[in-house]
Structure formats: C-alpha cells, structure tokens
C-alpha cells in the first residue's frame, strides 16, 4: 500500500533530522559496556578462564557488546507519541481517515530504523572486530551474519508490537510516562539486552525463552555470535514468528477495545 510506504519515507526523513539523538543514544551505550567488560573479567578470572553459562569470555563480550548496540538500535520512542495522541486527541485525525493506526505507526518506525540501521550495524561490526582482534578469535561466522538478518527484521517488528501494546495502555491509564521507562527496564533485562538469559539459570532462563522478549534482542544476538546454530535457529525463528502473530492479535484487540474508550479530548 502506497500510503504506508509514504509513512515509511516520512520516518526516514525524520531520522535524518534527529541524527544527533541517535548517536547520543549509541554513545551512551559505551559506559554500561565498559562496566560489563570489567564485571565479566572479574567473573571469568574467578572461574579460572573456563566457560561460564556456556560461553567463553570472548563470546560473552561479543554478546554483551552486540546486545547493547542492538537494544539501542531497536529502541522505540513512539509509545510516547501514542500516549500523546490518545491523551490530547491527536488520534482523531487517524480515526477519521482511511488509514490504520498500527500499520501507519509500524511504517513510520521502520522508516526511522532504516535511517539508522546501516550506521548501527557498521558500529556493531567494528565492535565485534575489536573483540575478535583482542582474543584472536572470530566471534562471528558468515553463516551467523546471514541468519542474523531475518531474525533482525523479526526483532524490529516484534519490538514494535511489544511497545505498541504498552502504548495502548494510555487508553486506560491517565499518567503513564513513568510506566514506559519502568516497562522498558524490565523488558531490556527479560529480552537479554544486558546479559544472556542463561545467567538466570536453566529453569528461569528456559522459561524466559518462552516469552516474546528474548526474540526481540537475545535471540538475534545469539544467532549472530553463533551460540544458537543449526535447527535451533529455525525453532527460534518459528517462535519469533509465532510471537509476532500473537502480538498482532493482541495489539488489534487492545486497539479495538481502547479506541472505543477514546475520549478525543480537546476541541
């Protein structure tokens, strides 16, 4: 549909205008990464250089760095706009027009991400090369990179849907701004955006892999860094797709329910 492609191009234009914002976001990743490097160093030296949580020190660093960058790369912000639209009546202009809100927002989001994806991936390549050179290993295989790309697309869409659903809460709750940050912190942990889910132990980690969040960050990073390979990639992709499907259903349900409650304030 042409109208949604136009929304995509609007998203790209917008990112071009707010580039500095993105780079500041990426730069802010540096500090937590440094902390993690020291933390893992301490933990691994304690283990006598052996593998922890099924990963070598180099693999763990490759994971942490990639996950940090990916999380910031996929970071949403449109939930604040949704909240704004719902609270101040800006939603009306979408409701009265022959355009659907979810696909419109999705395309704007994808457009914004296309604008930064290339630079983000370049940065990730650089960081992984750094890890590779320091440990004389290659943290990434060509197969991993090729399989990573579809999981990345899935992660983008899934991340969008998760935060779209969170944004829908604005139909019911009146002061929600702080909630978005709280939810984001929980989700970054549950998605493996800080450390791999294995850290929680087999039982909890395994249970968390049934939730959608890991398919938004942890899973693509695992595929990229080669922790998940072979048939497990396919299983993961199926989970990712299934969660996307389910989240679409949930989003639509919340939208239908919420937009009936919409008050169209102002004017």
């Amino acid at each position: 549909m042409k109208k949604y492609l136009y929304a995509l191009s609007l998203g790209i234009k917008e990112t071009m205008a707010y580039r500095a914002d993105f780079w500041l976001g990426i730069a802010s990743a540096a500090f937590p990464i440094i902390i993690q490097v020291f933390m893992w160093q301490a933990l691994y030296s304690g283990s006598g250089g052996g593998a922890l949580f099924g990963r070598s020190y180099a693999q763990m660093l490759a994971y942490s760095v990639s996950a940090s960058i990916l999380w910031r790369l996929l970071k949403t912000g449109f939930e604040y706009e949704i909240n704004e639209d719902i609270k101040n009546g800006g939603l009306s202009k979408y409701i009265v027009r022959p355009i659907e809100y979810l696909p419109y927002r999705l395309h704007c989001f994808l457009g914004q991400k296309i604008g930064v994806l290339f630079s983000g991936l370049m940065l990730m390549t650089l960081a992984l090369t750094g890890v590779g050179l320091s440990f004389h290993v290659s943290p990434v295989s060509l197969q991993g990179v090729l399989l990573f790309l579809p999981t990345l697309l899935g992660a983008l869409v899934l991340n969008f849907l998760i935060f779209f659903c969170v944004g829908m809460w604005a139909f019911w709750l009146s002061e929600i701004g702080f909630l978005f940050e709280a939810v984001r912190i929980v989700i970054v942990v549950l998605s493996g955006g800080i450390f791999p889910l294995e850290v929680f132990g087999t039982a909890v980690g395994g249970a968390l892999k049934l939730l959608p969040f890991t398919y938004a960050v942890g899973f693509p990073v695992d595929v990229l860094t080669g922790t998940v390979t072979g048939p497990a990639v396919l299983t993961g992709l199926c989970f990712q797709l299934a969660w996307i499907g389910l989240m679409v259903v949930i989003s639509r349900f919340l939208w239908n329910l919420g937009s009936r409650k919409y008050l169209a304030a102002g004017g």
């Binding site: 042409k2 109208k3 492609l5 136009y6 929304a7 609007l10 917008e14 009546g89 800006g90 009306s92 202009k93 409701i95 009265v96 027009r97 022959p98 355009i99 009936r260 919409y262 008050l263 169209a264 102002g266 004017g267």
Partner: protein, 328 residues
Amino acid sequence: MALIEVTGLQKTFEYTKKEEGLKSSFHSLFHREKLYKEAVKGIDFSLEKGEMVGFLGPNGAGKTTTLKMLSGILFPTGGQATVMGYVPWERKKDFKMRFAIVMGQKSQLWWDLPAVESFTLNRHIYEIDEAEYRKTLGELTEILNVEALMGVQVRRLSLGERMKMELIASLLHKPEVIFLDEPTIGLDFISQKRIREFLREYNREKQTTVLLTSHSIGDIEDLCRRTIIIADGTIVYDGELKKINSLFGERKRIQVSFETEEAAQRDLSRFGTVCSREGVQVVLEVKREDVREISRMILETLPATDFNISDIPVEEGIARLYTGRNSQ
C-alpha cells in the same frame, strides 16, 4: 432517506472525581468515585443533501461531542445515526473516503512538516490520483491565497493561515459531507469573512452537505439557512435563525430617548416591560400587536426626543434558549 439521520443519539462520559490535596489523591489510589456526565441526551435531527446547517450551543452543550460521534471518533452510549447510509462509528473505509471533519481547535496537520507534506500524505491516505490532486490543490490554494505558504512548517503559520491549510487538507478528497467544528475560532474579522465566503461558494458549487458549529452568530447568519440549537445535551431549536424570536411570542422593542434623565426615571411599566434604562434612554418590550397603540401613547404623553421600534436581536433569543428560559 435523508443524507444524515440522527435518532435518539446519546453520549454519557464517565469520569472520576478528584478532590484537591495530597490526602485525597492518596485516597483516590484505592477508591475512585465514578461520576457520569450526560453530554448528549438523545437528540434527533436530519440533514438533506446539499444543506448547510448551523449547529449552535453554549460551551459544553454537546456540539463537538455530536460531531465526533457523527465522524466516528466517539462511540455513542445510545441511539442511532447514519451518514450517507453508513454508521459512522463502524469506521468503514468507504465512509471515511467520503467525509471530512475540520476542527478549529485541533489541528489535523503534521506540525513538524510543511503543509504541502501533510497534503501529500493525505493524497496517499485518500488514494487520490496525482493529476486530480494537483488540480484540486491548485484550485484550493488559489482561492484561499496560500500558494506562498505551502513550504512553511505548519507550526510557523499564523492561526488564520493554518486554518486555511486545515480546510485544504480536508477538502482534497472532495468529501460529500463536511463537519466543521468552529472553523473561524480565534480568527480576525477579515480572515473570518474570507473563510465564510469560501465555504459559501464551496457549498454552492459542489453541493456538499455541511454541518457547522460556531460561536460566531455571524458565521451562522451568513452561511446557514437552517440552525439547530443544542443546550445541555438537548435540541432546543431547529429552524431558521431569523425566526428564533417567534419562540418567545411576537414581541418588539421600543427605544425611547427623553430630554432629561429625570424624565427617563418615571414609571413606564404601564406601557410594557422595561428592558433597560441608561441615562436618557429607555428600552421597552411590548407585544407586536400593541406596538402601534403604545407608540402613539408614548409619543402623546411623554416628552420623548427620539423613538425607535425594532425586533428583538437574534443573539438574545439564542441566549434565552441557552439558559433555558423558553418562555417569558
């Protein structure tokens, strides 16, 4: 069947009571008292194709709520409405392609983009053919005289300029029904006049059906033959604006000026109801059939220097309807 049919339309808003103070804020975390406001209390009216009808009412009377229900933004609590045969709140795509709503107080343009980007987005949203779009846009920008402002970011436009852009954005797809919610609010006299002229011409030429709310009686007098007045969620008048005063009986005003203020102070109640007394001037309200007789009596018995008979102003009739004083 009429183009717009409204029967028994109702909207009740639910809200929670919030009292001042920290203690009650804390209290409201656990217990919230629900209150209900009946914004629209079961209204009926219909519009024929090509009609341009004024929708008047005091603040909070339910005008905007009604327009929002008719454009599918709000779900009603009860009653029915159809617009061009569609139930608005079913939000069917075909319906959305054929109507528009313009809100004076709520921009539908994208604030960070120049107006022309919003128009292009609308072109895609409404699936308007490129050539057709160029033609319509050319016409509209020329009539409204905004060609030079197309590339300016919407947030930098003046209120009047923005309003013109809002109109263009909502007319690009040639809607058959237009809801205008206070399109001239906050505009200066000249801009108001231009927008009015534009709307009149547009309605005449395209035979669009228009329902227009405004607080400016001028807008309505100028544009609409028929006016619906809503007060406190109920329709209190539906007819010609000029005839509004017939609701209050056929009455006339007699304005008399005296030579001195003392003369103006005398008891005049035997002639009619005294409406106002200012300096040497007194305004009386009398029954239409008595005008001739009372005028003669006043002129014969009182030291009047000036004398004038007029109709009760429309605004006063409306004001009486707003406050619910239907009869004298």
